[in-house]
Symmetry: C2
Subunit: 120 residues, 2 copies
């Protein structure tokens, strides 16, 4: 599969990352996502990473960049479903997901976006 | 990745199939999904197949079986995001997704489940 599907739920877009990201896939996702934010007039993006056992600096930067692009297009980004081990590793490695809010799961992420609590 | 994540949205569960299914992955998904239907008291399951270019008899049977399992546990299943080419192939090959309702996208699938219109 060469594309990560983007699901629309009201004014929000949901992306579930299940496969190992590589450069081209990340670029395709960013292209698709920015296009969809505009065409669907989305106000928020949920990125589910519950399937990821590892978030390295490449994935971290990809998520931050995607959030920065979304922000320019007036949509906020929330990362949901992070595994405990990933949270531990991120802090231990000093990796920060800049400009990105996090929530425990999709439901809480939706609530966060709906009440406008995510990073602007 | 050896698991397909299952996202909870209210009383519904959402599964996005992005990777090629094989026997073990399908069984793991069915195990996980039935467990989650019980623990999350889910009333509906949305299976997004927008990333699939091909739905062969194996995938079709896997979806039908999953829907049958969900039905026994009192949850209805809706397949969403089917690509036009997949719909054409399914009909041409005479494959039916028994016991499964379909909807254009996640939003419509949620509406279908909420108004109780999906296959019981």
């Amino acid at each position: 599969m060469e594309r990560i599907p983007i699901l629309r739920m009201g004014r929000l877009l949901l992306v579930t990352i299940q496969v190992d990201m590589h450069d081209r896939l990340a670029m395709t996702l960013q292209d698709d996502l920015t296009t969809r934010i505009v065409t669907d007039r989305a106000t928020g993006v949920l990125i589910d990473i519950s399937a990821l056992d590892i978030v390295d600096s490449f994935i971290g930067r990809m998520i931050s960049n995607t959030a920065a692009m979304a922000k320019i297009l007036d949509a906020r980004t929330v990362v949901v479903g992070m595994q405990p081990a990933v949270a531990i590793t991120l802090v231990e490695l000093g990796l920060t997901l800049e400009g990105v809010s996090t929530a425990l799961n999709v439901e809480r992420g939706i609530k966060l976006l709906e009440r406008g609590g995510a990073c602007a």
